[in-house]
């Protein structure tokens, strides 16, 4: 286990949680800038989505970040307490006519940058793997 964080669902807690998780997950990979950048980018999207959309940015609620080292890389899971959604309902902002949408790019970035992505039932959790060099 690299980290197991319970984070109050407040935007001002996003950066501290991100810093703590990325530092914990980068142990032994301090010089792998690409790994750190990819992990930070993907985790920021997952965490911001969980805080804002999953928990309604309500500090009384919390989201959880669990990370572990696996043979295939670092696997991170972010869980939120929200009502959930059907991932298929999300509109691809890169699709025809979708570029000018102001929302929906987070999952697109996660899928593009992470090596594996798994979305839990009703979108209440997301797991991803980031491989190092």
């Amino acid at each position: 286990m690299l980290c197991d964080l319970t984070v109050p669902a407040s935007l001002d807690r996003l950066r501290p949680a991100l810093d703590e998780a990325v530092t914990a997950c980068s142990e032994g990979r301090a010089r792998d800038e690409q790994f750190r950048w990819t992990l930070r980018t993907v985790l920021r999207e997952a965490l911001a989505n969980a805080i804002v959309h999953g928990a309604g940015a309500d500090p009384a609620r919390s989201v959880r970040v669990v990370a572990a080292s696996r043979p295939e890389g670092v696997r991170v899971t972010v869980e939120d307490p929200g009502e959930g959604y059907e991932p298929e309902e999300a509109v691809h902002p890169g699709s025809a006519g979708g570029r000018e949408r102001s929302r929906g790019r987070g999952l697109l970035l996660v899928r593009a940058l992470a090596d594996e992505v798994e979305i839990g039932p009703r979108g209440r959790s997301i797991s991803f793997v980031v491989r190092g060099r």
Binding site: R44, V52, L108, L109
Partner: protein
């Protein structure tokens, strides 16, 4: 302040000092819309000093650019480093915005 505004002739240059992310995107929007209300119509968002933009920041850029366009103006971008350019390309926003390598060339052409 996360953002600075520098006026270069007819262009309001919005300098992103560190990052444009979910935590500060409203501030970015407010800074641009203040200048839009003052009558500015040309905006250049300079990312030279920035190291990060997230999907919420990208969405805010799209939204603000649309508002500027509806008022008869234009919002362009310059100074994307390699990592930021990757994010624009992955979200296909590199084809939505006019993007210059640096501020000088952006202003020459605006």
């Amino acid at each position: 302040m996360s953002f600075g505004i520098e006026v270069e002739g007819s262009v309001a240059v919005v300098v992103v000092r560190e990052e444009l992310v979910v935590e500060n995107r409203s501030d970015f929007k407010d800074r641009v819309l203040e200048r839009l209300d003052e009558g500015r119509r040309k905006f250049l968002v300079d990312f030279t000093a920035a190291r990060y933009i997230d999907s919420a920041g990208l969405g805010e850029l799209v939204s603000v650019a649309r508002t500027v366009r509806e008022k008869g103006g234009e919002l362009r971008i310059c100074g994307l480093g390699e990592d930021l350019r990757t994010l624009f390309e992955l979200t296909r926003l590199d084809s939505l915005f006019e993007i210059a390598d640096d501020r000088g060339s952006a202003l020459d052409d605006f």
